[in-house]
Amino acid sequence: MTSLPGRRLETYIMILIMVTVTPLGDIFLRKGMARIGAMASWAPADVFHFFFRAFTSPLIWLGIGLQLTFFIAYLLVLSWADYSYVQPVSSAISYPLIALLAEFILHESVSPIRWAGVAVICLGVFVVGRTQVKTTGAAV
């Protein structure tokens, strides 16, 4: 396995940005979609109406803006670090934050078993995070 020491700090900065904007964006998306409610049917007119309402919601656009920020950070970090490292670490750190924000902002009840699941996910992140940043490409 190889690593890129010069990019380690940048990798952590990008992952920090990603794990901050992702949960916030997710919460805005859920808040926006909860107001719209379920899609009436798979009829083209209903599908169109459903997504038209979604894309005219300011909350959805706020969520999309944060997702876009995530995407640019993701694009940059993947240019020097492996997908199989970045994906688990960035996404799984976001999960406890999403659960916390869901409980306190959206007032969702999160059961102890679900919290335990989130904790186990974090343990998995710890295991993945102790591997090298890059496992392919030229050694530095």
Binding site: A54, Y83, S91, I121
Partner: protein, 125 residues
């Protein structure tokens, strides 16, 4: 129920496929050279000229529509952790599609994450 199952399939499979295409595109584009706005804009411009990036954008947009559909009726604290099933798909894709060397320790981490997802799914909110 069936509608959410369809949405879930698109989020996990199509979404992960899209992310792998992003990674493939970035490998072809090369490393971002600096953190200046100009260098970042140039890097994003190179990304938009890569066909893999457009395949990725299409797949990820499809997954995003599905995510919105599922979020309309399902709690955020269930939807987002449950999509972590994509770690298994992602690790497999990293190994076989992107030819990355996925270590035994990473596989172990992914397995633990998946066990956590299982608990999230069975724990009623």
């Amino acid at each position: 129920m069936i509608t959410n199952a369809i949405f879930y399939f698109f989020i996990v499979i199509i979404g992960t496929g899209g992310e792998m295409c992003v990674s493939r595109a970035t490998k072809e584009i090369g490393e971002a050279t600096a953190f200046t706005p100009r260098a970042i804009a140039r890097h994003v411009g190179r990304a938009l000229a890569n066909p893999w990036m457009w395949i990725a954008v299409t797949m990820m947009a499809t997954a995003f529509f599905a995510l919105l559909g599922m979020l309309a009726t399902t709690k955020a604290s269930l939807v987002f952790p449950s999509t972590a099933v994509s770690y298994g798909v992602g690790a497999l894709g990293g190994k076989f599609f992107l030819k990355e060397d996925v270590s035994a320790q990473r596989w172990l981490g992914v397995a633990v994450i998946c066990a956590g997802v299982l608990l999230v799914l069975i724990g009623k909110g």
